[in-house]
Amino acid sequence: MTVDTAWNGDGSRLAAGPRPGAEGRPLAGLTILDLTQQVAGPYATRLLAAYGATVIKIERPGSGDPARAAGPFPGDVPHPERSARFLYLNTGKQSVTLNLKSRAGRTLLLELAERADALVENFPPRVLPSLGLDWPVLHAVNPALVVVSITDYGQTGPYRDFAGTNLTLFAAGGQMSLTGEPDREPLVNGGTQALLQAGLHGFSATLAAVYGAQTHGLGTWVDISIQEVQTAALEGAGPNALVNGMDATRAGNQPRATWGIYPCADGFVGCWCMDQNVPDLFRAIGRADLLDSPFRDQRWRGEHNEEVATLLLGFFVEHTQAELRELGARHRVAIGVMPAIDELLRWPGLLEKGFWQEVEHPEAGRLVHPGPPFRIDGGGFALAPAPLLGQHTEAVLCERLGLGAEEIADLREHGVI
């Protein structure tokens, strides 16, 4: 690829400004029209909002995003403003209710699209065309608009309209075949990882496409497939299958004696040692004598894996998590505990950097959220509560589209908002 030497795609070289402080979020000034629901799409736009974009979330009048009904809820009592899934994934967004099936609703959406940098959606592929809101229409009203579509299997191909959930998509992507114990069934990762991985790609891809749209003056339509996102992340096993025609299967919790999870006196402990860490591992378990034995030899260990595992297990089951953690730290080997969420909430390394962030929500109260996955000059990230259903409908339509009180009342009466 030949690339010219311009700093920016438009050939301009921007002047260096003063060193920035922690305030000032990187995506300030971007407007994202958010037609996402459930998990994958909302995770993308949650990140966009946290880093400073204005995210206008369009919800169905009445019930809103189905994630509002998904829970978990405080005391397991369903409430549309108290679903943990919704509250987590929609921080910092504005909620506008709009019936996209009505002519007026569609018109308002197109007017909002004219003034947005990107539209992010994760409907099944057939939905937007059925609403008359497919890419050619959006591109015509705003040629600089970026449209990002996150779907189970992508916009084309024979599985395009397949039904999917996090479980079936984790299987379809290939990561599940590698997870779990060799003598048991393949295992899905905890939470909704298939969906969140795709949401994360949605975040980064939106930014790439917006960057390109600013450079070229033309938006693009980005097709992200939840299946493909995982298929491209099978570590060495993916290319090994493609190039060598060989497969991989579940390696379980102990792919190798020095690389695995062990029970210990009061729970479980992880032991992750590459060959160069093995001397420190032996010192940590008080067996420096093994440094002059066949145990030091990587090949020998491979051939005597059971023997090595028995040695380590014997030590670990005699020691507590706290003792092993201390030994690991002292000898600089990755022997580690498996903190649960309550322990993570008071984890020193997280507290010292002020990671956890408390967000006060009018209906759900104060909840702790994970903080920044990345910091720009030490900051750039901020959370605000998830919106109540339709909380910003009037403000957005009045301020952005110049609608008056009478028009708002009329739209409300006709069930458009």
Binding site: L14, G157, Y211, T220, E228, N244, A248, G270, M338, R366
Partner: protein, 470 residues
Amino acid sequence: MADDGRSGGTDGVAREATLPPLYGVRIIDLTMVWAGPYATRLLADAGADVIKIEGVTRPDSIRTSGAMALGGVERPFDRVAYFNEYNRNKRGLALDLSRPEGRAALLRLVRVADALIENFRAGVLEGWGLGPERLLAERPDLVIVSMPGFAKRGSERDLAGYGPTIEQLGGLIQLTGYPGDGPEKSGISYGDPIAGTMAAGAMIAALLRRRRTGQGAVVEVSQRDNMLNMIGEAVLDYCMNRRLPERRGNRHRWMAPHGCYPSLPLPEAEGRPLGRAGQPTGVATDRWVTIAVATDAQWQALCRVIGRPDLAEDPRYAQALGRYERQDELDAIIANWTRQRSDDEAMTLLQAAGVPAAAVRTPLAQTRDPHLAERGFYREIEHPVAGRYRVAGPLWNVSSPRPEIVRPAPVFGQHRVEVLGDLAGYDAEALAELEREQVIGDEPVKRPATPAANDAAATASPREATGGRR
């Protein structure tokens, strides 16, 4: 620019972009192993000019570990499938950063770069005099992205961050596992690709800010902090209910049935060969299919497909709660049906009735997936040493122009002359001098490493080399 685009569209003929989104962005890539190269793979696929810099004495450890397994072929370090997959679309050279001439060359490249990304252990770049202040002095609006396992400073600065460590200290591992059993690790080094994807986005976020304000940036992507963002729902549940997540295996909080069921195994003769090139470890014949019933209507459909209309009429199973409470018996009934057919057949029959179902695709089965084939997902590529091979395609499928694999992964040291000559202004004589002094080169050099270089090394054995760099 945006206004130009808009006026261009008012005639009703919407034009299409002709250049990839990150065209014109130049990135210096000092990362190794998986997390960092995964980030720059995404950026390169989106059109950025990624220049991967390895050490002359310290190649990407994926090259060295993979080369060991390939044995006595010529330039084995250029034939490693794992390396060649994640480093396509990048240019590459090898530079000895432990020596002043190497550092001077890097700084010259920094002057003509937009961004630099690294995943060294904390303090390594600083030890070479290449900390953020020095880089920004060379290029004030540079975007610098670091990917520590935990933190660049503070009590966790020196904590090793291999893939499983990130998953373990990032809380995910406590959520994964068979019911009643302990935590279970992911099959891949799960922290790596998610850190890479976030790092790619973080870099572009900083580039967007630079375009608006002119500012460079120092960006820190903590791989563990990123992982914690993948369990946010469980964190909020804990805050609401003081409840730690339960390991449910393949079951769901309320959907039922919801599981992974055994399919008819492959005939032994058609088994899937396990292992790596030249190192077969066995043959697998197991096949599995996942089924998730999200609605009562899907339950009715499933009963029809498996030939059990009696169950569809049974009021005990009509609603999710009843099915949830009787999952064991339903799972046995479903498994009895799935065992009699292939994973694909079960998937196809259930999908035709609108029931979410998918075969558990293995890496090899995935390469033959008809859907991915129809989408043109896998792309063929010609490599000067490794020959023709297939790679996974770009993931950000922009409508125009279609993202392509325009170059294979670099062979070791491949672009040193064009990069240092064209971009950093070295003439032929100066390049020859660097080559003679082994500051640059096209083959890994074995030389007693300086302490700093030694500290930076991430030597890993093949199966172990799955972790992040740190």
